[in-house]
């Protein structure tokens, strides 16, 4: 008897322990979800009684030009940002996994953009991309000093190549990226460039200030993609989003890298593997579960991107930055008009379904391969 009851207790225990979480999940997500499903089939303005209209909302959102724009923007955003942030996160992690003095400082520094509040970062970003902002200033300066910078790079590269070739010809074992040659190249390149300016062979060019309008434009880029090109303001948001989210994923990759057993590297070294071989055959397969996590989180996060569009507000044309999440919000709280809860709910249902399908497809491609390996 006693045994039976303890068995029951054992079976119940996990549910009891899960109860607080389940409670919030059911109340704030489960209930809300059921309501949204219901509202998506009604017209409702928060005040009068919801009226059943069947699938009309779903038909209407696809007729709404804003919705198709939002969908296109969201999908472009998802593809570009997820790809870029995953690659950059991996590269950063590889870089920060080195044993270098003061590496902890760099790890913290690279993580800063992710720690700062999204609102604060977006405000900085708005200044950064202003018409007389930092970015346009830097581009202007670059254009002014273009010739000098090119001369410096060219001189540095030339010296380096000459030295490497010289050593190779003498059959000395020298790496293509020999650091001491690089240092010498940079030093001499600097002296050459400095001399050229000092003695007046080269002067900074006079160029009109660069006037790229990053936000307030309906232009798209790049032109050759035709209707697939993304609006420039969305591109600006992409750049910024990559910058702020890559470090978080870098942290995950860094943890993954430090979990790879040393023996694997040693065995590879014995087999004569180096550089790309190690990355391709040791690191990449070992990091597969993390890549899966990073890509999944990236996909979900990018599909739900909202805050940066909201803070940008009227600085950029709505059609150029609207995303699905923002579309939902702007239907729920249209500026000084009656809320369109039905439309917003239908769009929210669509976004949920889309997210589910994309993540599922991604699991099929990435996840199961990983399990087989």
């Amino acid at each position: 008897m006693r045994r039976a009851s303890s068995k029951v207790g054992e079976k119940l225990a996990p549910y009891v322990l899960l109860a607080p979480f389940l409670f919030t999940l059911i109340v704030f997500f489960g209930y809300a979800f059921v309501r949204v499903v219901y509202f998506s089939f009604t017209t409702y303005d928060l005040f009068s009684k919801p009226e059943w209209v069947g699938l009309k909302n779903y038909v209407n959102i696809f007729r709404d030009l804003d919705f198709t724009r939002a969908m296109k923007n969201s999908l472009t955003f998802m593809v570009v940002v997820t790809t870029a942030q995953t690659i950059i996160a991996l590269l950063l992690a590889l870089l920060l996994n080195q044993k270098v003095r003061g590496i902890r400082f760099f790890r913290a520094a690279y993580y800063m953009p992710s720690v700062a509040s999204s609102v604060v970062v977006t405000l900085i970003f708005i200044w950064f991309f202003q018409r007389r902002g930092v970015l346009n200033f830097v581009i202007t300066k670059f254009k002014e000093y273009q010739a000098i910078i090119l001369l410096f790079l060219f001189a540095a590269a030339a010296i380096h190549i000459v030295l490497v070739v010289w050593e190779k010809l003498r059959r000395r074992p020298v790496s293509v990226f020999e650091p001491s040659f690089m240092f010498l190249g940079v030093l001499i390149g600097f002296i050459v460039a400095f001399g050229a300016v000092r003695f007046g062979f080269l002067v900074p060019r006079e160029v009109p200030p660069v006037d790229i309008i990053w936000f307030n434009t309906t232009k798209t880029w790049p032109d050759f993609l035709g209707s697939l090109a993304f609006p420039i303001p969305l591109g600006a948001i992409m750049l910024f989003n990559i910058w702020t989210t890559a470090p978080t994923f870098m942290l995950l990759y860094l943890a993954g890298l430090q979990d790879i057993p040393r023996e694997l590297y040693e065995a590879a070294a014995v087999d004569g593997a180096e550089g790309w071989h190690i990355i391709l055959h040791i690191i990449a397969p070992q990091l597969k579960p993390i890549t899966f996590l990073v890509v999944t989180m990236g996909l979900i996060g990018t599909l739900q991107m909202f805050d940066q569009v909201a803070i940008l507000g009227s600085q950029a044309p709505r059609s150029s930055v609207i995303t699905l999440a923002y579309y939902i919000y702007s239907n729920l709280f249209p500026s000084s008009a009656v809320p369109r809860v039905g439309m917003a709910s239908a769009a929210a249902m669509f976004l949920a379904l889309l997210t589910f399908i994309i993540v599922y497809a991604q699991r099929k491609v990435l996840g199961e391969e990983g399990e087989n390996a």
Binding site: Q130, R131, T217, S314, F333, P334, S336, A337, V338
Partner: protein, 413 residues
Amino acid sequence: MKRLSIALVVVLLVACAASAQHIRIGGFGGNDTVIVEEMIELFVRPALEGTGITVQYEPISDDFQRYIVNALSAGTAPDLFYMDIFWAGSLIRSGVVEPLDEYFAKSEVLKPEYFIPSLVEAFTYEGKIYGVPKDFNTLAVFYNKDLFDYAGVEYPSNDDTWDTFYAKLEKVAAIDPNIYGLALQPEFARFGALAYAAGFTPFNADGKTDLFDPAFVEAFKWYTGMAETGVGVMPQDISQGWGGGALASEQVAVALEGAWMVGAIKGDAPNMQYGTALMPKHPQTGQRGNLIFTVAWGMNAASPNKEAAFKVMEILTSEEVQQWVLERGLAIPSRQALADNPYFQQDHAEAQANYTVFLGASDGNVLPFHFGEYGGEWMDPINQALSAVMSKQATVEEALREAQAQLDALMGR
């Protein structure tokens, strides 16, 4: 035990009594918190002494419109709340705001006739009045005296037409390439006043918007043309967020702003010598145009204490409260009787600015700042067109065609 239960009963009774007569007031956060709290302390509480009515201000520092929509829908909204003309219509149409006509009929001190008619009109829907305007704002010409003196140009005056106004701006802008005449905020909230002066109305007889109305095109060309010639500049292009910021930076001689500019100058450019004039007249129509920005007190239709709430509203909109608000330089009163107020005749920039803004409401083609059921979505295409032309991304023709297409899509929805 017994003592405890008695204490409990007493607490409950007190709570009941209080809640029966407790009036909650919802409004903006920030500056308004201090003003309304002080107003309640100085006027409302003394007047309500002995009636058992208690009052509490609940400032909302977040997006107020979103808050009030949610709160009214959820049944947690305050008894009295701010209603901005920009979005009041959507609440009124939803039936959550109490019509006030019956209360006016019974009241001895609060009658709609006491208020400026165009303000009351703005909150009237299907013949019923839904809000008592608490204050208002219009646009005026705010100018930097020093820049005009330096250029040796006469100050803008109430007699200026667009042509004479432009000539003055042009001379000021000629001082230096980095000095501009007018701050050209790319928004209908400023430019609209000029379009109205030329004779434009947001909705024509069929309820549609026609941006190719000659009046609109003329105003549009005049406004955006100043960016082209360098007589004016978009605030964004000199790293300022709005026209007022551009004026306070002293790189721009004139901004078209409301009485809120007085506080902004006090904060950002306290040493700037400034003056105000009425909006310039359109040279052909001879009319000025203006927008009325106003906030009213609205009453929650679901409030359990409507009579008490109206009593509080009577005090909040009384003459003595409005006089106090005016003298503190906080807002322009909505009561007609205060037009001849001695405050307005004082010889300092602040009082004159307030008086100019006050006069703006009743001179020429003046329309309240709201766009029917379309709200802010109506302005977006026009704002984009203004900005596109002034940043040289589109010609007037292209920009207006694009904006018209967007408006047609909005109205066809």
